[in-house]
Each structure stands twice: as C-alpha cells, then as structure tokens.
C-alpha cells in the first residue's frame, strides 16, 4: 500500500493547527510555514501524478480495512490531475496573498487556507460517498472563514447567504446519501456502482438519490438554477480568495464526473441516461445566465463571477453527454477555466487596490495602467475563448465533441452566442477601466495615486497564471494525450470497481 496517497490530506491537516495555535501571533512564521506546506503539497502532487500516469488505479485502505467496510482513498489519473491543479493554484494564490498583504488583514488566513486545501484534496481523493460529504464540510467551513476574511458589512452579509445556501445544500446531501444507503446498502462508490449495474437496488429510490446528488453537486458547481450564491460570494470575497474559489466550483464538477460516471454509469439499468437528460438543458441555461450576467454587470467583480458561471456551463455541457471524447474536452476546459478565472481575479485585485473601486466607470488612469491592461487583456482573452490562449482551444474542443446530430444545434448556439456576449461584456469593462481612463485628466485629490507601485512580486502570480494558460495552449497535444487516457480510465469503471473491491473478494475466499 502506497502511503503517499494520503499525504495531500495529512500534510495540510497537520500544518493548519500548528499555524493556528503556535504561529498565530507571528505572521512571518505563518507565511513561511504556509508557503513551505503548499510547495510540499505541490511536490507530492507532481509525484502522485507521475505515479498515476502509469494508468494503474491505486487504492489506499484507511486502517487497512478491506474496501466496502473501511474508507478508501483512490488515486487515478483524474484525482492526481485535480490534486496537481489544486496545488498549482494554491501556490499562486498564497504568493499573491502574501505579496499584496491580504493575509495580514485578518486573522488565521494561513490556517484556514491549509484547512481549505485539506478539504479540497480529500474530496478529490476519496472513494467513499459519505467521506466525500465530510471533506465537503471541511472545505466549506474553511471557505466560510476565508470568504469573510478582513470583514466589512457587505462581505459579512454575503458570507451569511453563502453559509445558509451551503448548509441547505449539505442537508440535501445527507438526504441523498440516506436514500442511497437505504436503496443499495453501501456508500462506497465502487460498491454502489456494482449494485446499480446489477439492477438489484430499489429503482425509484436510486433515481431520487442520483438526482438529489446532481442537485447537491450542482450547488457547488453553480449550475443554474442553483447558482444564486456564486455572484454575491465571489464578488464580495477578498479577490485572492475568489481566485482560490475557482477550484471550488470544479470540486462540484469533479463530483458529478466521478459519481455520475462510475457509481451511476450512463446507460445502467437503474438510472439510464437520466442525469445527462437533466444536466444538458441546465448547462445551456448556465451558459445563458453567465453571458447575460457578464453583459449586465456594472462592477468588475460581479462581471468576473458571471464569467465563471458561464465557463461552468460550458464545462458541464461537455460533461452532460457522458462520452469519452467529450469528457476529455471537458477536462481540458476544466484546467483552462480554473486558471483563467484565477488569473482574472488576481489581476482584478491589483486593479481594484489601485483604483479604489471595482465600479465600471471611467476614472483617472492609475499608475502602471499599461501593465494592468495587458494582464487583464490576456486573462480576458483566455476566459472569453479568443485565440491564441487555451480558452479558444478549449471551446473548440468542446464544440468538436458536441457535434453529434442531437446536440449540435443547442450546444453550438449556446457556446457561440454566449462567447460573443461575454466578449462584448469584457470589451466594455476593459475599455471603461483601462482605455477611456487615459483621456481623463489626473485628479490631484485621489488617494489612489499615492499608493506604491505594484511590485514585481505582486504582479508575478497573475503573470504565472497567464503563462500557464499560454503553456496549456502551447502544449495542448501532450495535455490532451494525458486527458484522453484519463477519460478512458474514467469510463472503464470495471477497473476502478475491481481495484477497490479486489481485497474484499480475495479475503472472502
């Protein structure tokens, strides 16, 4: 048994309390520990990704109990890739937070940050549905703290809504798990898959549970009509935290991909294609709501939040057909949309801190207007899906995968019209903030001009995120090869089931 599989959960879980209890009064020490832990997490993720690239599904039995009786962690290509993405994003965000001083504007930033990473890594690794619930709660409770980091009236009110929405979601998750247990007698994902495929469970209850789970994960993934929490939360959270939250919506998408391709494999005797039939129209609506929101936004942060909703729509649209090639494109788009959302929020943080407001009005140009404009331009190109960055390739892949006769009309119109509206929204925002502002005479009274210039370290995380988007476009070939193997592994659910349950079968003999 490979003990490194549990390291991404244990490492932040050990570091976080140490930061919270021992380093709480020393921000430098906390920063060092947090960065060191995040770098270590990155190294472990790289190692695990290399290990998983061989194509073997590795299972970690907690307490050495055989699978359906004990909890398991499962490392395959998909979970390794998500871990790597999480750790890269975490490294970018933690550097930005330290460089801009966000982490010192409230208490316990780094402890909460590490707990958040623990929850996210756990959710990506677990092979047990109830354990997934527990890790969701871990990442949520940390995100509540991070969301209201540094306080403020608006932020606390938005935080209250965010907590209420997610608590209701957690309750629904428990109802879904209860129904699932009542119908199948197990909560291990591989074991559920076996029962569902055998057709022995109670069909009505299993269908209810599958749809309830889709709703729960849809809340996390901001799937319309469960997206209402996202704009207020992301717009009012500290911008670096909003950048970290870019991975949180992907946790919902990941859970849909994992549970609804393995446990409720499409075409099984119990649920059939029920999930795809609901997910497809919901994703179309998500793209529409995202695009309209971008067009209607009067502030930069809500504009970015709606663009995140739109990108989730495109991602879930590709997931909803549940085919191997479409899943490959969905995973590519997942990588791209996480990084581009993070890049946009980090640039927005620099811009807002110098402008003093995120309202889309014409104001005096800030110092280094050119730098901000260039970064925003690059990140916006990626998000809206213009060449040459990965957004263009991502959307092209998704559209290629969705060119079947039944889906092409809806999918292509949604993606193309949605992209056009998003581009218009971003162009308007960019020209208001960066372009027209150069024609406004400098105002001597603005305090913003007294602010120090953005240092290289402060701009570096956003630049790295943009550089990663470029790399994703430049190395689209090798990345797609890995993703192809990932989705092949995902759709070969019998391998996953065998690996997880093999020990129990052996010991029974």
């Amino acid at each position: 048994m490979n003990h490194w599989i549990i390291a991404p959960v244990v490492l932040p879980a050990l570091i976080a309390p140490i930061i919270a209890f021992i380093m709480r009064h020393d921000v430098v020490l906390a920063r060092v520990a947090s960065v060191a832990s995040t770098i270590a997490l990155f190294a472990i993720s790289v190692a695990l990704t290399i290990m998983a690239a061989s194509g073997e599904t590795q299972v970690y039995f907690l307490g050495n109990w055989a699978a359906p009786f004990g909890i398991v962690l499962v490392l395959d290509r998909l979970s390794a890739m998500m871990l790597l993405l999480t750790s890269i994003l975490a490294l970018i965000v933690v550097t930005h937070s330290i460089a801009t001083g966000w982490d010192a504007k409230g208490r316990h930033f780094h402890a909460l940050f590490q707990f958040q990473l623990m929850g996210i890594c756990g959710a990506f690794l677990t092979g047990d549905a109830f354990n997934l619930f527990v890790f969701f709660e871990v990442l949520l409770i940390a995100s509540y703290g991070l969301m209201i980091h540094s306080g403020g009236k608006q932020r606390l009110q938005a935080g209250l809504q965010y907590v209420v929405m997610n608590l209701a979601g957690s309750t629904l998750f428990l109802f879904a798990l209860g129904s699932l247990y009542a119908a199948t007698g197990t909560l291990n994902i591989a074991d559920i898959a076996q029962v569902v495929q055998s057709g022995e469970g109670d069909e009505a209850i299993i269908r209810v549970a599958a749809i309830l789970l889709l709703v729960v994960f849809g809340i996390k993934a901001a799937l319309v009509p469960m997206h209402f929490w996202l704009p207020a939360t992301y717009s009012n959270a500290p911008a670096p935290i909003a950048a970290l939250f870019a991975i949180m919506t992907k946790v919902g998408a990941y859970a849909i991909i994992r549970i609804h391709t393995i446990a409720f494999a499409p075409g099984n005797p119990e649920t059939g294609n029920l999930i795809g039939d609901w997910l497809f129209p919901a994703s179309l609506l998500t793209i529409a709501v995202g695009a309209i929101g971008v067009l209607g936004a009067r502030r930069l942060m809500p504009l970015l939040s709606y663009s995140v909703i739109g990108s989730m729509g495109t991602l879930l649209l590709a997931v909803s057909v549940f085919e191997q090639y479409a899943m490959t494109t969905a995973l590519y788009y997942l990588l791209h949309s996480t990084l581009s959302a993070a890049a946009l929020y980090l640039v927005a943080d620099l811009v807002i801190s110098r402008r003093g407001t995120d309202a889309l009005t014409v104001r005096t140009a800030t110092a280094q207007n050119g730098l901000f404009a260039a970064l925003f331009f690059a990140a916006a190109i990626a998000m809206t899906g213009m060449p040459p960055l990965s957004g263009f390739l991502g959307k092209l892949f998704v559209m290629d995968a969705l060119s079947g006769p039944g889906v092409i009309g809806w999918a292509w119109s949604a993606i193309l019209i949605g992209s056009l509206m998003t581009i218009v929204g971003f162009v308007r925002a960019g020209s208001q903030i960066f372009w027209k502002s150069t024609s406004v005479a400098p105002d001597e009274d603005t305090a913003a001009t007294d602010l120090p210039r953005v240092s290289a370290l402060q701009a570096a995380p956003a630049m790295v995120a943009v550089a990663l988007l470029m790399a994703l476009a430049a190395f689209a070939g090798p990345v797609t090869n890995y993703l192809d193997a990932t989705s092949a592994q995902l759709f070969d659910s019998s391998d996953y089931i065998n690996q997880v349950l093999a020990r129990a079968t052996e010991e029974a003999k």
Binding site: W102, K105, G106, F130, V134, E137, I141, Y144, I148, S150, G151, G152, K153, Q154, R155, L156, Q157, A158, G159, L160, Q161, V163, V164, L167, A168, S170, T171, L174, F175, L177, G178, S179, Y181, A182, A232, S235, N236, P238, A239, R298, R299, L300, M301, P302, I352, S353, G356, T357, D358, A359, T361
Partner: protein, 139 residues
C-alpha cells in the same frame, strides 16, 4: 411506528423549509436546525426501523443477523449531528457578525443599484471588530 417517524421527518422538513424561506437570519437559523433534525432522523431510519435490537454484535460466532440492527446509519447520524452542530454554531457567529455590522438581521443584501459607487468590493481596509457595549455585557 413507521407512520410516526415518517410524519415527524415530514413535519420537521416542512417547518424547516418554511423557516429558511423567511427573510430574517434568526428564522433561517431555526429552519436549518429543524432541517438538520429531520435529516438525522431520516438517516437513522435508512437502516430500517427495528425495536429492541442491539447494533453491536455480542460474540463473533453470530449466525442469525436478524436479531441485530444495522449499526452504520447510527454512526452516520453521529457524524451528521457533530457536523451540523458545528455548522450551526458557525452560522450563528456569521449572523451575529452581519447583524452587528449592518444593524439589522435581514438575510438579503441591498440591491446593487442602491449601492454607492464606492461600496462593494472594498480593498480590505476594514477589519471585523465586534464590540459589545459595556452596559450590555454587564447585564
């Protein structure tokens, strides 16, 4: 007994949903508490309702499992209780913080159009300081 348990879950859920649709934070918190009670009983019932049956095996050579009840839902309920208790505590702190900052416990936010241009995403200069008036603290 099935009818009683099902009725209790239904009544708690209905009350909880009604309350979380209210506009005041206090009612919403009560609603979520009711919902968490409902889900706890629901989880408990997923192992099938059994009277006078222990969840723990006595001895290892048991052959007749019908004399026992499913222990797993009981473990799940314990986990769910702990998590929902903790989450409710966090929610109360949030509601208290939002109440003290904004002066009312309305759950909805002001419409974006009502905001002054300089409101909204601030650059993080404010810090959350909850101060209780001395006379309130003393009594």
């Amino acid at each position: 007994m099935e009818l009683l348990v099902a009725g209790a879950i239904g009544a708690l859920t209905a009350g909880g949903i009604y309350l979380i649709l209210r506009l005041r934070a206090f009612a919403v918190i009560l609603g979520l508490a009711l919902l968490s009670y409902a889900v706890n009983i629901f989880l408990f019932a997923t192992g099938r309702l059994a009277v006078n049956k222990p969840p723990i095996l006595t001895g290892y050579k048991v052959t007749d499992f019908s004399a026992y009840t499913d222990p797993l839902p009981q473990a799940l309920v314990l986990t769910a209780i702990v998590i929902s208790f903790g989450m409710t505590a966090v929610l109360v702190m949030f509601a208290l913080g939002a109440y003290l900052e904004s002066g009312d416990d309305k759950i909805d936010m002001p419409a974006p159009d009502d905001l002054h241009e300089d409101d909204g995403a601030d650059v993080g200069e404010q810090t959350l300081v909850i101060e209780i008036e001395p006379k309130e603290r003393g009594q």
